[in-house]
C-alpha cells in the first residue's frame, strides 16, 4: 500500500473544513495506541489515568497570564479583543497548528462557555491539556442544550438574567474566555492576578477565584 493521495476527492468547497484533521504525530500515536490495545499490551483507561496526572502539566499557565495582562492593561485588552492570536503571541505563546484564538469576554450580563469534543479543538497553547470532562459527549451535547444546568453541576449558578453564550470550537477557531476581574483586587500585580485565573474560568465552567478565598 503506497501513499494515499486525497486530491481526487477534494472539491473546492468554500467550507472544506467540515471534516476533522489529525497532525502527523497524533496519527502515529493513535496508530500505536490502537494496535497495542488490540494486542492487550496497553489499556486505554490506564493511559487516560497516566495522562490525567499531567492534565495541568501541558503547557505553562499561559492563559492565566494573558487574562491577568488584559485585566491590568486596557491597551492590551483592546488588542486582545481585536486580534487575540496576535495579542497572545505578544506574550510568546503560539500554537504549532496555527489555530486562531478568539477571546470572549464575560460581562455583568453575559457569560461565555466554550465547548468541543475533540481534544484538537482546545486552545492548548494557552490552556494546556483539555480536562477529561471537556472531551466527554455528555458535556458537549448538554453544554449546548442546557448550559445553565451544566454550569450548575460545576457549582456555578448565574443570575437568571445573565445571558449565556455557548461557543462551539472549530478546527480553525479556539475560544478563550476572559473571566471578570474579581473585586477587591485593586493594585494587584499581574503575578498575583494570574493566580486567581483558573483553567475552568477560561473555559467558562467557573469564575476567577475570590481573592479572600485565594488568600486563605
Amino acid at each position: 500500500m503506497g501513499h494515499t493521495h486525497h486530491d481526487d476527492h477534494h472539491h473546492d468547497h468554500d467550507h472544506d473544513h467540515d471534516h476533522s484533521e489529525l497532525s502527523e504525530t497524533a496519527l502515529r500515536v493513535r496508530a500505536l495506541e490502537s494496535i497495542l490495545t488490540e494486542k492487550g499490551l496497553v489499556d486505554p483507561a490506564a493511559l487516560d489515568l497516566i495522562v490525567e496526572t499531567y492534565e495541568t502539566r501541558v503547557g505553562p499557565r499561559n492563559g492565566a497570564r494573558v487574562v491577568a495582562r488584559a485585566w491590568s492593561d486596557p491597551a492590551y485588552l483592546e488588542r486582545l479583543r481585536r486580534d487575540a492570536t496576535a495579542a497572545i503571541a505578544e506574550l510568546g505563546y503560539t500554537g504549532r497548528q496555527g489555530e486562531h484564538i478568539v477571546a470572549v469576554e464575560n460581562t455583568a450580563d453575559e457569560h461565555n462557555l466554550v465547548v468541543c469534543t475533540l481534544c484538537s479543538c482546545y486552545p492548548w497553547s494557552v490552556l494546556g491539556l483539555p480536562p477529561v470532562w471537556y472531551k466527554s459527549p455528555p458535556y458537549r451535547s448538554r453544554a449546548v442544550i442546557d448550559p445553565r444546568g451544566v454550569l450548575a453541576e460545576f457549582g456555578l449558578t448565574l443570575a437568571s438574567d445573565t445571558r449565556i453564550r455557548v461557543w462551539d470550537s472549530t478546527a480553525e477557531v479556539r475560544y478563550l474566555v476572559i473571566p471578570r476581574r474579581p473585586s477587591g483586587t485593586q493594585g494587584w500585580s499581574e503575578e498575583q492576578l494570574a493566580d486567581l485565573v483558573t483553567r475552568d474560568s477560561m473555559i467558562g465552567t467557573g469564575l476567577a477565584r475570590d481573592p479572600a478565598e485565594a488568600a486563605a
Binding site: M1, T4, H6, H17, D18, H19, S20, E21, L22, S23, T25, A26, L27, R28, V29, R30, A31, L32, E33, S34, I35, L36, K39, L41, V42, D43, A46, L47, I50, V51, Y54, R57, V58, G59, P60, R96, C116, T117, L118, C119, S120, C121, W124, L129, P130, K135, P137, R140, D168, T170, A171
Partner: protein, 124 residues
C-alpha cells in the same frame, strides 16, 4: 520509588520544570503515557528505553531543536514496539493511514473513531 518516578530519574532529558514533566501538546502526553504503560507491562526496561531514545536523539544530531524531544520519543516507541514484535513497520503505517482516512471522514466536533475509516473492515 514508583516506575514513573524512576523513569523520570533515569531518562534525564525529559522536558520538565520543578513540578515534573511538561508537555507542549496533548499527543506528547499520550506518547509519554504509552511508554510508561509499556514499561509497566514489561515490554522493555528503562535502560533499554533510555538507550533507544538516546539513539534517536543522536541520529537527529546536535543541531536538532529541543522542541523535537517528543518526536524522538515517538520514534523510539515505534522502534521498540517493532523490535519486540508487538507490531511491524507496515502495520503501523497502514494503521496511521486508516486513522487519517477516519479523521477526514469524521465531521468536525464528533469523536474520531477508527470505524469511521471508509475502508474499515474491508479485509485488511
Amino acid at each position: 520509588m514508583d516506575s514513573r518516578t524512576r523513569a523520570l530519574a533515569e531518562v534525564a532529558s525529559i522536558p520538565r520544570d520543578e513540578g515534573g514533566p511538561v508537555f507542549r501538546e496533548p499527543w506528547e502526553a499520550q506518547a509519554f503515557a504509552l511508554a510508561v504503560a509499556l514499561h509497566e507491562r514489561g515490554l522493555f526496561t528503562w535502560s533499554e528505553w533510555a538507550e533507544t531514545l538516546g539513539a534517536e536523539i543522536a541520529r537527529a544530531g546536535p543541531g536538532a531543536p529541543a522542541a523535537d524531544y517528543y518526536h524522538h520519543w515517538l520514534a523510539a516507541l515505534e522502534t521498540l514496539v517493532v523490535a519486540r514484535g508487538a507490531a511491524t513497520r507496515e502495520t503501523l503505517a497502514e494503521r496511521r493511514e486508516a486513522w487519517d482516512r477516519a479523521a477526514h471522514a469524521t465531521p468536525h466536533g464528533e469523536p474520531i473513531l477508527l470505524c469511521n475509516d471508509p475502508l474499515h473492515g474491508t479485509g485488511r
